[in-house]
Amino acid sequence: MPFLAARDVSKAFFGNPVLRGVSIALMPGQIHALLGENGAGKSTLINLLSGALAIDSGAIEIDGQPISNMSPQAARKAGIAVVQQELSLTASLSIAENIGLGAYPRRFGLIDYAALERGAAAVCRLVGLKEPLSTPVGLLPLGRRQMVEIAKALYRKPRVLILDEPTSSLSASETRTLIELLGVLRCEGVAILYISHRLNEVMAIGEHVTVLKDGVRTADQPLAGTDAAGLVRLMVGRDPGDLFPTWQPSAQTPTVVSLSGFCAGMVRDVELTVREGEVLGIGGLVGQGQEDLLLGLYGALPAKAASASVGAAQELPGSVPRANSLGLAYIPADRKREGLHLIHSILTNIMLPTLSRIPALKPRSRSSERRIAEQLATRFMIKGDLSRPAQALSGGNQQKVALAKWMPQDPAVLLLNDPTRGVDVETKREIYALLRNLAAAGKAVVLLSSDTPELVHLCDRVAVMREGRISALIERQDLSEEAIVSAAVGVEPKRVAA
């Protein structure tokens, strides 16, 4: 009988279904792998299993008994421990105090530091943490903090251990320690749910696999006998329908941006060129340095390069105003916080980047501002009165405003950070058409996207990033979802090599 199971669970956020009729059963003494692309619903499933979110329909069962009101407390009582991606640690407290947090041993109402030390030392030995237990967690590097997080989960002696991408911040030797540890726990009868993007890791340790795609379970089978390519196929393969404009090859055009030895944030040693009139896709799993690449190029993040040419300059912009004057424009992913000023009108938002171009002491001409904005609103199909605040718009229309506001400056390079996230299908179609039109008009469009079909069907070339480097640069004729996902998860690409 499974320790923990989900039967036919569904979950929707604001009407958008994220999980539809998914079942999973975690058996004692088994390492169960959960696979899926960005946004397939993995994190939601974990949150449902651990009580952090409530299910819409279906059932969560512990030891075969349906639990009517699952909560984090109920999950803890039932021995379910989750190692989350974002850490739950307190930087100013010591390793031991973090491990025991919420479950301190007590004596006369005080924390029993002796018992805490014994317990913490035991779990630290398991995960290979050798730092003194009194070390404040804030002084540890990220990988060690992840090990503290795992030790913290083990301290509660869980029957079910859920690990959400535990190895993304671990070194090779830390990963080895963790994998050995999972083997030990499995022998002790712990049920383990292991989420990772590293397919070879999953193949090496998992026994059973569940694959999610767009919130639906596409596979639930023993891992023995399946190959990596087969798993990738189960994760991808959405029907693009008529969402994308037909693609036409663009002629060989001059480059507007060329970088070599580019480093910014977690980006290491990247070589990249962007040509006029192309849509260059930036793909990969979430958080592999894609955003740092855009921000570094845009001058919003300290960056350096062995050699660089951006527009007319032979160096990196280094600051946002300089990037703007070189013809770069950046449309951020978080449009509510970074892309727009929500309480201000659409007109104000559209005119904002242009204001600094008007001579400082010249009075603003409201009528010409309105004329410019109205033209853009028509061209970008922005629905609604221009004097309404931006927050009244739908996500898709907000995105169009965030894009339109750069147009008066006639940028040569558009850097877009996941522009269609959380946007409805109709607006997606409009945005895709807009981007292709901009490219046809000679603009270079750099499209960072977490949506693989978008990269396949809209882009001329796709650079796939992995751990801060470009792991593959795939040309149009070789573009496929398999090729991108394979490069993203580190499976040897087969057809891409050419």
Partner: protein, 323 residues
């Protein structure tokens, strides 16, 4: 940093003390500065090292130490209070109107303590349960509390029993002894699961909640204790002056923030230590005294005080930039 734990050493102390020592790391520099100021003060005013001089100095420090602890508690909890001063005033007027009247000394002290605890807990409840910003709630609260103090005692007056004044603010360092007891009480609180949870709840409330920490309870408890410390400081101020004054606490609000910041307590919650905050308040007291003996005019004192505080806060930032 050779402060490694030795698991084989005797029981409870083996982990507790290294953890304690670790907390000194960030405030060692501050301790040195304080030592320098104490030496300067001792040279300017040799009487400091007599029992009487020590008693008088610690008495001038005591209320600031208390309100700084009160402020630091809330800053560790991820909040801040603008009602510190009014709470001190309220404590003072309650003490001055009850202790020589119907309630007597014990009853009056209990009333002072109860007022602080209840007002603090109520503030905490509003901030935590309604998820309102602490700065707004305590700003509004400061008007209410200051008004209440004026309603109780519209103009300076009332009286404190002379023996209470003599005990707390006479020629003996009783105030210092009291401070030691309060600090021990804090250490004891921090050794409880609820006490240490304050750090987790202040710095990473979501992580703390997921770890099973009673976040709301830890925060409301912090507000209640903070209120108690403030009205307690008010009682002491009333004992010092022998009577109650409904606006006597005014300067404590900003001084408590200044001292906590000087002691390395951060605004983002969970950053800093109580020993740091206490050291900050001691440094602020010493600065005021030393500048007084150097003949600074009060206005120049304020300017110097402000510059030193900005400098102290900027120092770690500048160090970080250079790296």
């Amino acid at each position: 940093m050779s402060l490694s734990t030795n698991p084989t050493r005797d029981g409870v102390k083996a982990l507790y003390w290294p953890v304690q020592m670790r907390r000194n790391v960030g405030v060692r520099g501050l301790f040195l500065v304080i030592l320098a100021f104490i030496i300067a003060y001792g040279i300017l005013f040799p009487g400091l090292f007599s029992v009487f001089g020590f008693a008088k100095f610690t008495q001038s420090w005591f209320p600031l130490a208390l309100v700084t602890m009160a402020q630091a508690l809330l800053m560790l909890a991820g909040g801040i209070s603008l009602a510190i001063g009014p709470l001190v005033s309220l404590g003072a007027v309650i003490a001055a109107t009850t202790m020589t009247q119907s309630l007597g000394v014990a009853g009056g002290a209990a009333a002072v303590a109860l007022a602080g605890l209840l007002i603090g807990a109520a503030t905490g409840f509003i901030v935590v349960k309604l998820r309102l910003p602490a700065i707004v709630v305590t700003l509004a609260g400061s008007f209410v509390i200051a008004g209440a103090a004026l309603l109780i005692l519209p103009r300076p007056g009332g009286a404190m029993p002379p023996w209470v004044s003599n005990l707390l603010a006479g020629g003996t360092p009783a105030a210092f002894g009291l401070l030691v007891l309060i600090v021990l009480g804090w250490k004891l609180y921090l050794a409880t699961p609820l006490g240490i949870s304050l750090y987790a709840a202040g710095e990473n409330p979501i992580g703390a909640y997921r770890s099973g920490v009673p976040v709301d309870k830890a925060l409301i408890a912090a507000y209640a204790i903070s209120g108690l410390l403030c009205t307690g400081a008010g009682l002491f101020v009333a004992a010092q002056t022998g009577s109650g004054d409904p606006v006597i606490g005014q300067s404590f609000t900003l001084n408590s923030i200044a001292a906590a910041v000087l002691g390395g307590v951060g605004f983002l919650g969970g950053q800093g230590t109580m020993r740091g905050a206490l050291a900050g308040s001691l440094l602020l007291s010493l600065m005021i005294s030393v500048m007084f003996f150097l003949g600074f005019t009060p206005v120049a004192q304020y300017v110097a005080q402000g510059l030193i505080i900005v400098g102290a806060v900027a120092l770690p930032q500048l160090k970080g930039l250079r790296r």
